[in-house]
Symmetry: C2
Amino acid sequence: MGLTKTEQYSKMQNELAVILKALGHPARIAIVEYLLKVDQCICNDLVEELPLSQSTISQHLLELKQAGIIQGTIEGNSKCYCLQKQNLAKVMKFVSKCVSSLSLDKIKCC
Amino acid sequence: MGLTKTEQYSKMQNELAVILKALGHPARIAIVEYLLKVDQCICNDLVEELPLSQSTISQHLLELKQAGIIQGTIEGNSKCYCLQKQNLAKVMKFVSKCVSSLSLDKIKCC
DNA sequence: ATTTATTATCGTAATATTGCAATATACAAA
DNA sequence: TTTGTATATTGCAATATTACGATAATAAAT
């Protein structure tokens, strides 16, 4: 098999999974953290920052972009990348729902 | 290659990536949401809830457990699963850092 | 002791991911 | 027009993931 049964889950579950999966790699975490620090950057900045080749970083950027975590706009002969609020807010909402119900000690655990 | 260069990133970046990756699958999102609803459950409850075989669900539960998102304790001849606060809080902290810096409109974007 | 219920593990197949080098594309500047 | 800069794409190899059926392991119940 090797195929996720996407059609069996809700739209929200699939969307969340895509976003979280995109964030589920140390290089992409590093990219997001770098963007938090410098606000915006081009691909080449990351080539100097991370221990990966240019082509690999370009692919990680594409994955983050397709998940809606970053946006990239053409600027001259380079491309400016920055974070996108919307989808990070989705994760925030999900996780805070988890954590808040846990911290209220409502949950009877084992 | 096909191998993530784990040793090149910080401990925090790797830990976060593991947790987020574990949450990056609709079935595992569904499991977490189900646990939020029912507090605790056994594997068989999920077999009736999700469109997956018992063995597949068992593997998803293992992955969530290894990432520290849930815990499972033996209870008679079954196993009781429930959410674990600690690691969800880690994600929460990361994402809220992202979102807060974005919502403050501090970021100059493209 | 045997059956039943619950979960884990093994083996397998299909697909996806990770990473790089090489190449292609696009634009700016000389 | 050629050169340089920045990014994307392609092709490939190694590894990981997803899912299932079959089988094992464990404990409770009959």
